[in-house]
Symmetry: D2
Subunit: 304 residues, 4 copies
């Protein structure tokens, strides 16, 4: 395993030069484009790590499936899907158009920004701090790492440059999808994006999802049917508007973030964390995607 | 004149029952749908008023051409049209779609909300209070009425329910059209919408525009070429997405507001103010539009 | 199995009254809304049929994954995906908008009409007749039924009322996605939609796909990697703009048609054909969808 | 006049190099980008011609207001505006999006392609030949030139490359805006685009419109109220999605064509024809627009 994984990683380092570290959030722009790491955990808890697996990065959109699961646990699927749809979209993750053109309107799914902001608002808590604590607890438990916290610098950088998300937030309050204090709701979202993890944390979380929401020693963290919902969204909408292509080429539930991380899993088999901050045009880690495709082909992991 | 105007008003009172007072801004919803008034001022300053011409109402979108003229006087046409376009649009006045689909993007024109928020930001002043003072000064001078002020209740009501405009504001800062404090910029816009006038005030302002920006005793308030720009926008975009139809049927520069007022003018001939708060589906005073069409036909006022 | 299937069918007959037989293609409107049938075939070739399983209906969009597989076998994946995308869309199946807004443009995926018309054009053959013969051959082989043919009345009815598809066709030739005679290309599409089958034919085709493209006696009809592509599209885009919801609720590769049929499969397990012509608002068989959800839950078939 | 006109023309020849002769219709691509001519006719019928005023070119979109007037004369305004709207649009002239997004749908105005195809279908006649004869008669009478005919080469070139217009046509039959044979309706449109004129013909037609639809010797060709409708559309929508800017800068009813001609008029004053085939990005003659702006400024022609 280790040897093959090293080979896959070496072969795909090549892609880094075709990607770019995003500059729109100043604190993200400091990432080293050469960083590259992959962690794989099997159902026995055995972990293989290759490359920069202890480098810390922020979850960004990888937090979306986790916030979704917490929101369903807290508010129930009926309430969550009354406010957020279940359909993939051909539009970019930060698009506002469909909120205006669809009548009645709600965000198409919980993996685009509008939908993710809404699901964050459905986590129990009377304010941002309470909601983010619940989510952090979930992340820490699944990762088996109580040290996981929020990168304050990136959280603040994010908050200051988040006008597009603010536009989504106020638009959604206007159409009745969001209620309450928009800035406070957005604050939860900005903080969840800034949760700081390593590749290995991600792989540990992923293997919990591969294990139907249970830790490997059998403790239920998230009910299996809620994990299944989350896994489905990761397949249909997890890689922004390249999700369809990734489903065909790799066939794995996966969620990427603009920090360059990707969380992926093969149900009942393995959990995977990849980190490589150079992104392609759709906002996915360019080397990361190719590594996952090769890994899926090599181990025949596609669910299709 | 008086007799004919009374007849036109009586004939069109009929339309009121097909319109509706808007309910989305609570304070606006209190208007009496039966109110109906029209004021006409000729170039000699003679005024004819029929019906409820002293009832106060807020300018709402009628403030847009005035804010545009003040912005051009303060920032110059080059800067204003670098940030706001000149083209009519088939989209509703509060639409956000084109801001996302056009690349590079800016609001299509200064008569839709996005464009109006932007022009307000280009009035000189280091904050909302300074900007609104300049605009109020312009309105008072043109109307010849120093008592004109802001309806604080409606301003606050507007501010609290303005999530769509907030979405436009933050989206525009995201794409670089707006700079600075969005809430402060929006504040100018909310206050200009809440400037309180009567039909007769509107007619007096309109006759100043009909007189190329000069008061009737010859004092230049706005340069003639800036008035011409504003009049042109009033024709191509003044009546929301019913502007084209109004140009064909009435052929007058006109600007409506959701409070039920319409300011219209026939260049070098007359200024007109109409007030009737029951609106049609596009947001124009339903009786007001028909009164202006009849008045234009009767006096052969169309500029086409 | 038979008993449980009968029970599921009986329970879901209830939904029929909430659906409607579509009227836009006159010949389709003649279907009996009360018809309801389901066939299930396991990997040993054992078939269970309940209800109206010998009633003939036209494949309509169920033909799309079959045409896609034939096109990939004939033109290769590179050429096919140069002209058709891989991404799900939140837009309706007959939408033309994205063809204009995306630059460079191509249909988002092969399961919407624009994409399906394009894939049909990539089946080998110098004209519609040659292309449709190849596709019929594939359908007959997978279904093990050489009698399968085209319903000429529905084909002609379809052709006469297909202005929206014609618009898609000419638009795509304008942007360079289609080449050659548009009417001839459309003719292939109209004929493939009019291929006439029964529930049991559909179930037999589906079990071939569940068996990685091989007949149950081991003959390869479609290479396994091409079947996997098709299955993936059936999950991400197979149920029009309700695909995401169906993935969450049933978790099966499935493709519906406006005639009321649905083809579904559980890889390595079973093939399913359902027929019930009353449709929901997105164009899917309303009872059919609920039957598949119950069947998936009962047999724990979800791939997620 | 002659001297000033020569000067304006000389000054603006400069712009030609920033424009481009369009290549999408092969026969149009043969035009000489250096050609430049302007004709002005006053209400006494006195004509001034400068530059290439006898060069023939095809009317293209300049035919749209003429077809509109003929359609209103033949079918009445109620029927015409039941099928075509009155509103300007920020979308390009060949856009199909709004036909799908607006419900109920019809082309936004008669100056975009969708609307023009529809108005052509409302000219009396049982087929394309009869309809085009009526339109040619109108053009010849207004121009006072019985030799005006159709450029068959361009008509055929146009017809062969008109897939976008075909898409518009079939889409509109699908939504019930067009009835009957789409190819025959489009044929009228392709032929009207290929009507061949010179600058001077255009100026003569324009002065008839400036004279409220009467020839200069007083014969009524088009009723005055129908001319007014056409003039209004020329202001609000005549210059594609640069109409708003042209209204502000020149303030004249004007209609451009992709062959490089522009027809403009100052009501009760003059008719103008300009020809210069190098176009700007919106499809308007780049030197032509600047000549009209200078001419309007010099003679103070703006209607605003």
């Amino acid at each position: 395993m280790e040897e093959m994984l090293q080979k896959i990683l070496d072969q795909n380092r090549y892609w880094i030069k075709y990607g770019e570290v995003p500059s729109y959030i100043p604190a993200l722009a400091k990432a080293n484009p050469e960083d590259l790491g992959v962690s794989v955990v099997n159902m026995k808890g055995q972990i293989v790590t290759i490359g920069d697996c202890s480098t810390k990065f922020t979850m960004q959109s990888i937090s979306k499936p986790l916030a979704l699961m917490q929101a369903i646990m807290d508010s129930g699927p009926v309430e969550v899907f009354r406010k957020v749809g279940m359909e993939p979209t051909g539009d970019p993750f930060n698009s506002i158009i469909k909120l205006e053109t669809l009548k009645p309107s709600k965000p198409l799914n919980p993996m685009i920004n509008a939908g993710a902001i809404t699901t964050s608002s459905l986590i129990n808590g009377s304010n941002s701090t309470e909601r983010i604590e619940r989510l952090l607890e979930l992340v820490r438990t699944l990762a088996g790492n109580n040290e996981i916290g929020i990168n304050e610098e990136i959280y603040h950088s994010e908050k200051e440059t988040a006008d597009r998300n603010r536009a989504l937030g106020y638009f959604m309050r206007d159409i009745g999808v969001l209620e309450g204090n928009v800035e406070d709701i957005l604050d939860t979202y900005f903080r969840q994006c800034a949760i700081e993890v390593s590749c290995s944390d991600i792989a540990n979380i992923a293997v919990g999802l591969a294990n139907k929401g249970n830790t490997l020693d059998g403790q239920e963290v998230v009910p299996a049917d809620i994990v299944r919902i989350s896994n489905t969204f990761m397949v249909t909408c997890g890689m922004y508007n390249a999700s369809g292509e990734f489903a065909i080429k790799a066939g794995l539930p996966a969620k990427s973030g603009v920090s360059g991380g990707i969380m992926a899993l093969a149900p009942q088999k393995i959990g995977i964390g990849v980190y490589s901050p150079a992104l392609d045009q759709r906002g996915n880690s360019i080397a990361g995607i190719h590594i996952l495709e090769d890994l899926s082909a090599w181990l025949d992991l596609s669910i299709f």
